[in-house]
């Protein structure tokens, strides 16, 4: 086991530091989460250290270790993966630094709170919306996120669970790597292959917006449902181009994270599980 070092003495300056290890900043969703957290920290007068794991659990582990070395007071982790984050959480636990997980949970290690909206539920919400709009039957295309990421898995699972009961058929299921450009070209190709498509569900708004361009260029009318409610997507919904997007309120997750971290610091009790509402953004 690790050599136990003496517990960090709370130094005046560093006691105000909160660490945030975020899975990636390559995606507007997580950028919003970070922005929310930063705004809250500023408001409450705390310094927030943000480290980017670049979707790599090994980097995430290093980031947590570096925060431990830095001696931050609380660590907010937005895990890259619920399993893989376990040992990183334990590393913080070893040094008695409280951990709060955001958006994704941790399957092992001690966590004082988990703040999230459920990806599976979000997928389900999108599925139900599609069923309702298509009257329970039709052909849909599913644009998947980066293969092997938990967001892609969970959103896909929720969506497919929901439509299982209906007569809706997934006629094509292809990855576009959460990327708008890929969303465009993959959708173009699918449009060539499938004469009839009623709806598209994309695992994030970036892909949805790419697909939207492809559909617009093809002249067809196909309903597009995205996920994340990024600014661009909400605008597209308002303009009537996109049908809906599932809002996870990432900024709220971030700001709740900091708010609760501060409570922990002050010794206040907090809820173990803090849900953030999902919303379906439609026109």
């Amino acid at each position: 086991t690790a050599p136990s070092t003496t517990q960090p003495e709370p130094q005046k300056e560093e006691a105000k530091k909160i660490g945030l290890v975020i899975s990636t900043l390559n995606n507007p969703f997580f950028v919003s989460l970070k922005d929310g957290a930063e705004a809250k920290a500023k408001e409450l007068g705390y310094e927030l250290v943000v480290l980017d794991s670049q979707n790599d659990p090994a980097k995430e582990m290093s980031n947590v270790e570096d925060l431990v070395t830095k001696n931050v007071a609380v660590i907010l982790i937005n895990p890259t993966d619920s399993d893989a984050v376990g040992n990183a959480v334990k590393a913080a636990n070893d040094k008695q630094i409280p951990v709060i997980t955001l958006d994704r949970g941790a399957n092992s290690g001690e966590v004082v709170a988990h703040i999230a909206s459920d990806n599976v539920a979000g997928g389900k919400m999108a599925g139900e919306y599609v069923i309702e709009q298509l009257g329970g039957k039709g052909k849909v295309v599913e644009l998947e996120g980066i293969a092997g990421t938990s967001a892609a898995r969970d959103r896909g699972q929720g969506f497919n669970d929901a439509i299982k009961a209906s007569n809706i058929e997934v006629v094509a299921k292809q990855t576009a790597d959460f990327d708008r450009t890929k969303g465009l070209s993959v959708m173009e190709n699918i449009l060539q292959a499938q004469p009839e498509i009623n709806a598209v569900f994309a695992h994030n708004d970036e892909m949805a917006l790419g697909a939207l361009q492809a559909i617009k260029a093809s002249g067809k009318t196909i309903m597009v449902v995205g996920f994340d409610a990024t600014d661009d997507a909400v605008k597209a919904v308002e303009a009537g181009e996109m049908a809906a997007t599932v809002a996870q309120q990432p900024a709220k997750i971030g700001s709740l994270g900091v708010e609760n971290a501060v409570k922990v610091l002050k010794g206040e009790a907090i809820e173990k599980s803090i849900p953030v509402d999902l919303q379906l953004v439609t026109k």
Binding site: L25, V31, V171, Q174, N189, A193, D232
Partner: protein, 314 residues
């Protein structure tokens, strides 16, 4: 006549690979060989093609350019930002191209004058420019907006002329120009000579530093052009645009039979290489191959294609 054809096919095995591949896909999926899908493939290929042309220049000199994806991203961000601020689309495009060319020239400068190996120099620039793009965009997409300028701009990527998408014209012009430069001009000859034997080229009185700076500038310029096309198509610039595009471009060049050691190969091969990759992506989508198997098959096709195309042993 027949002999010439045979020789052509032996020399251009990648062309044979492409044709056979297309025939197989056409049989499996009847939607593949339609005018609309072929235009679709060509339009999708245009991005990688434009980048791969620049990469061909660089690779012919024995170099490599990993920074194209990042240059694509910053140019896209700049053009989108300028258009969204109501600037004239033409001016925005020129500015973005200038930035791409300047970054390429910077690559060329540190490689030639700084004597850094191209792989690591452009790796450094790739990282640096990606970081700067994230700072510039604050990590968020930049929409070109819906002004008149924006809709003029979006034509570059989404417009048509005589029923054929504009990016296809751009690609053809780029290919044609590059082919001509490499085949028929002094500069082209120097590029090959430099790739074959740098020292002998210097001894022949040629300023090889200038050639190096030039090829990286061309690569940067074309990466920026690709960035403009993408941004115009999407009417929006992504901070992460172009990630990993360098590998696709290099793959196109090498599949086309150009040697990474420099000095041999050419644009015609790159056309074929880019088309192989484009057809592959399209056909895997058309046949609804699951994404895991797509990667598997892509790797396999790359290996088989280069194995078939390899130089005969003495």
């Amino acid at each position: 006549m027949k002999k010439a054809l045979k020789e052509f096919l032996i020399k251009n095995k990648s062309f044979v690979v492409l044709v056979i591949f297309c025939i197989i896909v056409s049989i499996v999926n009847e939607r593949f060989f339609t005018v609309s899908n072929i235009l679709n493939i060509l339009r999708q290929t245009s991005i990688n093609s434009v980048i791969a042309v620049g990469m061909t220049f660089v690779i012919l000199t024995g170099g490599i350019d990993l920074s194209v994806g990042s240059i694509l991203a910053i140019s896209g961000a700049v053009v989108a930002a300028m258009v969204s601020q109501g600037n004239n689309a033409f001016i925005a495009v020129i500015a973005a191209l200038a930035i791409g060319a300047a970054l390429g020239a910077f690559n060329g400068l540190i490689i030639s004058k700084g004597k850094i190996q191209p792989f690591i120099a452009t790796l450094g620039v790739m990282t640096l420019v990606r970081g700067y793009t994230l700072v510039f965009t604050d990590g968020k997409p930049i929409s070109a907006g819906s002004s008149e300028a924006a809709s003029a701009f979006s034509n570059i990527g989404a417009g048509y002329f005589l029923g054929i998408p504009l990016p296809i014209y751009i690609m053809i012009i780029v290919f044609g120009l590059a082919y001509y430069i490499l085949k028929h001009t002094r500069t082209g000859r120097y590029v090959y000579s430099l790739g074959c034997n740098e020292e002998a080229t210097i001894y022949s009185g040629i300023n090889t530093d200038r050639i190096k700076i030039l090829v990286y500038t061309i690569s940067g310029l074309l990466a920026a052009l690709a960035g403009i096309i993408i941004t115009a198509r999407l009417s929006s610039a992504q901070p992460q645009a172009g990630t990993g595009y360098e590998l696709d471009a290099i793959a196109a060049v090498v599949l086309g039979g150009t040697s990474l050691a420099g000095g041999s190969g050419g644009i015609f091969g790159t056309v074929i290489g880019a088309l192989i990759i484009g057809v592959l992506n399209n056909s895997l989508n058309l046949m609804d191959v699951s994404s895991y198997y797509q990667l598997l098959l892509k790797g396999l096709v790359i290996l088989v294609a280069v194995l078939l195309d390899r130089k005969q042993k003495k």
